[in-house]
């Protein structure tokens, strides 16, 4: 689920039309992160059924018959950390290949069938997991699920399609290499995770993607797509009995168990470390952060709440208040906590005109230090609780959002009753807890900072030479 949380930065033309027609007041990125990294809690009484197929495949199901749609989300253990050595980018490459032909259908034929059945199917690789997103209209469900079965069980990886997708990935990498946010993030992960596979970009690099062949893709699919690590969530216009059959049809042909390489825990990222990548742009971009608490840490929820107050809560956060509202130094400034499976990070991002990026970073470092020192106020914590508990229902207002929540809860092993418990967990966190966690989590002098641009003034801690 992590890549869903990792901010995705679109380079190139992607920005064009957004820029053109749609000026949103606050980049919604920070909010998206809030929504996705969240620890969760109840809102809305919703019945989750655990459906186990005759073949032994389990899914969480929420029946919703108001709209004639079915949303399914599923995940296999093993994202880009399962890329073979020197073939970084394989998982991501596979995620682009599964709708490029399967069974008897070549790429064009497969995509035409998808369109004719109005099937929505896309895949995603994160550092830890491989994710599938699937939606269909009830009336086309039979055929749509058959296409999904083909994609997972009989992907073709035709050379022609492999070359085409490689070209798309390489073009994307080329755009990324000129996108300051993207470069800042790549460099940050390199510093933070050194020799661990987490240091490597999910999309791979020009060199590694160039070296990936169809055999690498086939072998990844064979090793990773297996029933033992599969998690499934389904929401929509389908009942338990029908779903049980579908589960066997779609996933029943996959091997019982995968063949995953064991990946060690990552060393928690620590600073201070700083790196400047010079790029001739009018605004410099910085990513900052360090280690945080994993999902099974008793302090995770408190750390999540702490971050809401510090940098996750949009206009309610201290970073937004100090950097944007008081000083006009940035349009977008935010931070988030993200628990990976083998490490966790606290990280954030800011973009400021080049002669003031040092000032922005000083302000941010100051706020992190102040928060570590004295924690939030009683009022800030109260408001954070009100937001986090009150907005929980907003994550459950569409079928696909519910499916996304359910798969996240499964991946994090939070349990079937988590939705009912979640707001109580938030409310149980005391001011003392958050103050203690602030000291434990935040290291103003231990930040890993990457800056991309042409800073004309240095922050207090000089980033150059």
């Amino acid at each position: 689920m992590s890549a869903l949380v990792t901010p995705r930065h679109h380079a190139g033309i992607g920005r064009v039309r957004r820029a053109l027609s749609y000026w949103v007041r606050n980049s919604t990125l920070a909010l998206a992160i809030v929504a996705l990294t969240a620890a969760l809690s109840p809102a809305n009484a919703m019945k989750i059924q655990v459906v186990t197929s005759p073949g032994g495949i389990t899914a969480w199901l929420v029946e919703a018959h108001e709209v004639p749609l079915i949303a399914m989300r599923f995940a296999f253990e093993g994202g880009s950390v399962q890329d073979p050595k020197d073939k970084n980018g394989v998982a991501y490459f596979v995620s682009g290949m599964l709708d490029e032909g399967a069974g008897e259908l070549n790429s064009v034929a497969f995509q035409e069938r998808l369109e004719e059945t109005a099937t929505r199917m896309n895949f995603d690789a994160t550092r830890d997991v491989f994710i599938g997103n699937f939606q269909t209209l009830t009336k086309n469900a039979g055929e749509s699920f058959e296409l999904l079965r083909l994609a997972l069980n009989e992907p073709r990886f035709d050379q022609d399609a492999v070359d085409r997708i490689r070209q798309q990935i390489l073009a994307g990498l080329e755009f990324d290499s000129n996108d300051p946010e993207n470069v800042a993030a790549r460099e940050w992960y390199k510093l933070a995770f050194a020799d661990h596979p987490y240091a490597l970009p999910v999309k791979g690099t020009k060199e590694t993607v160039g070296a990936i062949g169809a055999d690498n893709l086939k072998s990844y699919a064979k090793r990773v797509f297996a029933r033992d690590t599969l998690k499934v969530a389904v929401v929509g216009d389908i009942d338990a009995e029908t779903l049980a059959k579908v589960l066997d049809e779609v996933f029943g042909g996959l091997p019982e168990s995968g063949d995953l390489t064991s990946v060690p825990e990552a060393k928690p990222p620590v600073g201070p470390q700083e790196k400047l990548v010079e790029m001739n742009i009018p605004q410099s971009v910085a990513q900052f952060g360090h280690s945080a608490f994993k999902r099974d840490d008793d302090d995770f929820i408190a750390s999540y709440m702490l971050n809401y107050i510090l940098g996750g809560g949009g206009f309610s956060s201290r970073l937004m208040e100090e950097v944007r509202e008081k000083r006009g130094l940035a349009y977008s400034v935010y931070s988030y906590v993200h628990p990976y499976e083998r490490a966790a990070i606290y990280a954030g991002n800011v973009a400021t005109k080049s002669d003031a990026i040092g000032t922005s970073l000083d302000v941010i470092r100051g706020e992190i230090g102040r928060m570590a020192e004295s924690g939030p106020s009683k009022e800030e914590l109260q408001k954070a609780k009100q937001y986090l508990t009150g907005s929980y229902a907003l994550r459950f207002d569409t079928n696909s959002k519910i499916a996304s929540q359910l798969i996240w809860i499964q991946l994090q092993n939070l349990g079937l009753d988590y939705i009912d418990k979640r707001n109580d967990l938030i409310n149980a966190v005391s001011l003392d807890d958050v103050k203690r966690v602030a000291k434990r989590l935040l290291k103003a002098d231990g930040l890993i900072i990457t800056i991309v641009g042409k800073p004309e003034s240095s922050p207090k801690k000089p980033v150059r030479g």
Partner: protein, 471 residues
């Protein structure tokens, strides 16, 4: 398919263009096999404010939006960016709401809020649990009439917007190309001016510019309230009577009349060279009608045309340039049909390998010419239509998208009925309708074509100054 590469972001944009379609489309797929939710109800308050209510009872949540019939294309010459600047300043407070507290109040009540500005409309929205609907209606109505701005916060916010411009445009060469292309495409109409504004004009905007724009355009009789979610029209009406209905109308609001675009005598071409360009890319825009400005049926036909020609991996453009000829890494296109005065047909292509960009453009023109000469097939039209009807069903899963569809249409002079008749009108489109709009609007004279070319990189290097440990 890799769906977040720039080229396929074009698809994503096509998805965005499709939103545009939905904006003009309908909630109910009336005659289709699927019935999606109840229809919207609409009424007017005594002060002229339009209200649209779209019940969606699945979760105890509502989306509340207020749309103003004003956008960047309504700005006075020399004041570009003021519509968007005011949108930011609307969060600065009123007599009742202290400066900067608006969003904090929403958040403290478990809600989310944001706003956006386009060429023709400006919208403010909140997503809250249903019991907070009275609160958001009260404070949104309050800032319709009682905005308070102090000099200092206005100037600080201007700096924020200059940073926003740097992030969105100046740091991104393809955004710069698009800005240049739009400016070149429109010779007279203000759609050529960027929504965020030109830097030198933003830098001169001040408090009085913002307040005069506010008093000129922000009024109930220039606004539309859209509420989607766990409510019915009667509840919304009762609440609106206590809030928005108390705001005085502005008698001076008139129908919008912008400078008209003359027929063009020559197409425009431009090239932007930039070391940050990455891959060479090509964009082309044609002026076309929009849903609001088109003759009956034309906009629907344009939607079908662009779906068949260029939107998605099953389109002619993608199949020809990306799959068969391998001249492009990605290729896509869209119809922007939501404008008040006109729409656009757009294409964007990321060049593949070492193919000269001129060859890629020629290949694109071959696809376009073939459609103009030989037309589209019935099968293509049927598939495109089915895809859009399905999109409509999918979008009905999201109350935010429902609210946007109606809001956008109403803000550009279209009615709830027109929105809901969209699937029916789509069904009436014939192959000949599509062929006719292709022949009419794929007219190079009414177009602008832009190349974005990477140049040698000199300035970009990685400074090898990684430092570990305490400094």
């Amino acid at each position: 398919m890799i769906d977040y590469l720039p080229g396929l972001l074009v698809l994503r944009m096509a998805a965005l263009a499709a939103c545009v379609v939905f904006a003009s489309g309908a909630l109910n797929v009336a005659a289709a096999e699927v019935a999606v939710g109840p229809k919207a109800k609409n009424f007017k308050l005594a002060n002229g404010m339009d209200v649209v209510v779209i019940p969606d009872r699945r979760a105890p949540v509502v989306t509340h939006m207020v749309w103003y019939r004003v956008g960047s294309a309504d700005e006075a010459p020399g004041s570009s960016g003021i519509a968007h600047f005011l949108e930011h300043l609307m969060f600065k407070g009123t007599e009742k709401i202290p400066p900067g507290e608006f969003s904090k109040i929403i958040a403290a009540n478990g809600g989310q809020d944001n706003a956006f500005t386009s060429q023709d409309a400006t919208a403010y929205f909140q997503r809250v649990s249903k019991e907070n609907l009275p609160l958001v209606m009260e404070i949104e109505a309050d800032r319709m009439a009682n905005l308070r701005l102090d000099e200092k916060s206005v100037l600080t916010e201007r700096d924020v917007i200059l940073e926003e411009r740097r992030s969105r445009v100046d740091n991104d060469p393809s955004s710069i190309l698009n800005e240049q292309l739009m400016a070149a495409l429109y010779q007279s109409h203000p759609y050529g001016i960027p929504v965020i504004g030109w830097r030198h004009e933003i830098a001169e905007l001040d408090r009085s510019d913002a307040l005069s724009f506010y008093s000129k355009y922000y009024a109930p009789n220039n606004a539309i309230l859209v509420v989607a979610g766990d409510v019915d029209a009667d509840e919304v009406k009762a609440l609106a009577e206590k809030t928005y209905a108390k705001v005085k109308k502005n008698g001076k609001i008139t129908t919008r009349a912008r400078p008209k675009e003359p027929p063009h005598q020559a197409g425009v071409r431009l090239t932007l060279e930039d070391p940050r360009a990455g891959k060479a890319t090509l964009q082309r825009l044609y002026i076309a009608p929009s849903y609001a400005s088109a003759k009956e049926g034309e906009a629907e036909a344009l939607d079908m045309l662009m779906k068949i020609a260029a939107s998605g991996t099953t389109s002619r453009l993608y199949k020809k340039l990306v799959v068969e000829q391998k001249k492009a890494a990605s290729a896509g296109g869209w119809f922007s049909g939501t404008g008040l005065d006109s729409g656009r047909l757009g294409f964007a292509i990321v060049v593949g390998g070492k193919t000269p960009i001129e060859d890629v453009e020629r290949a694109m023109d071959d696809v376009i010419e073939e459609i103009k000469d030989k037309g589209v097939t019935q099968k293509e039209l049927d598939r495109a239509r089915e895809a859009y009807i399905a999109d409509l069903v999918y979008s009905s899963d999201s109350q935010t998208r429902l609210a946007q569809r109606y809001g956008w249409a109403m803000a550009t002079g279209r009615s709830v009925e027109a929105v809901e008749a969209w699937p029916e009108r789509l069904k009436k489109v014939t192959v000949e309708d599509v062929n006719k709009v292709a022949r009419t609007y794929f007219d190079l004279k009414q177009s602008a074509t832009g190349y974005l070319l990477p140049t040698e990189k000199k300035a970009t290097k990685s400074a090898d100054d990684t430092r570990n440990g305490k400094s």
